[in-house]
Subunit: 214 residues, 2 copies
Amino acid sequence: MKDNTKISSAVIKRLPRYRRYLSELQKKNIDRISSNELSNLIGYTASQIRQDLNNFGGFGQQGYGYNIQSLFNEISIILGLDQEYKMVILGAGNLGQAIANYTHYYKEGFKVCAMFDVNPKIIGLKINDIEVLDYEVLENYLVNNSIDIGIICTNKDSAQEVVDKLSDGGIKGIWNFATTDLVIRDDIAIENVHLSDSLHSLAYYIKRNQQKGS
Amino acid sequence: MKDNTKISSAVIKRLPRYRRYLSELQKKNIDRISSNELSNLIGYTASQIRQDLNNFGGFGQQGYGYNIQSLFNEISIILGLDQEYKMVILGAGNLGQAIANYTHYYKEGFKVCAMFDVNPKIIGLKINDIEVLDYEVLENYLVNNSIDIGIICTNKDSAQEVVDKLSDGGIKGIWNFATTDLVIRDDIAIENVHLSDSLHSLAYYIKRNQQKGS
């Protein structure tokens, strides 16, 4: 495998998608696939697919295609899905609870260990067997539990403070759902899910289609 | 304003982010901002910002900067946020309920009118005053209500069937949370929120940081 740290972020963004399609193919008991067939499925060009997968040393054989199982495994390892991640959810409102209830992540090695909130009405509840703890004990909790990922489901005004506390507590990654951009140390990974941005883009394309049609 | 339909999707992707920062500046009662100051805030280069905003005829004046209020308004109009959108949620599980409960969208003109599910235990419930209807009546509901956006919160195996029904019913846009890519007519807009893909990217960056550090 080539040096992981040199792969462009554009390629990394596409890997989970490759993996998703490969997983579907596995379920259909398909063993091999050519870059052309993959192209028809995924929608990237065959040449882009070959280029992307070459980043990792290339698993395809000319005229023979890719072995789906080993390509899936290799991408999983590259994505870091060969290890387990302990997560905490910050903010146990609707969104936090939705994520806690989404058990699909567990199967992939992402485990929610605890949730935190400041609301006394929510503290003490169990969501999908995960306890909602008082935000006051977060610092202590982080000292005693080796947590990898903090999922930010607070309102945007609290998000930065929460992230600072997580950073001090040794977190390795932030999955941010708060509608704000966070300042974070370089050695901590961050992925933003800005749902409003996505909805606004959708509104744009709807309006554009209307204008095209009129 | 230039022709909206010619703007690249990369620029469109950035507009909601511009708008978010401009909204924050408005709250701080700031009137004007230069592209350099915007650059420091948002993290795009000043030249990229000028280029992006020039797509819309350019609202900046040399040496004077952008008028925040009018730039905000103009971007809102371009994004189609000057009109209202009627939405339905398909799948009233945790994620569907989280979205129904997230009232922030209402203020921006996105209104959830109804939710649909196949589960008799959920049908008839009200989530944030929005009724969960039987999926069986969806077709009829679409005939009688002019719905703009369908939010897909079903499992991935049902998603395509649901989207086909929405398309036949005259929907204009799909906001897809199901972990699958959907086939859809060209005149219908679609935005995918693949949460798993985002989490997998995060895992990659965490692993990469570990490798860098080791």
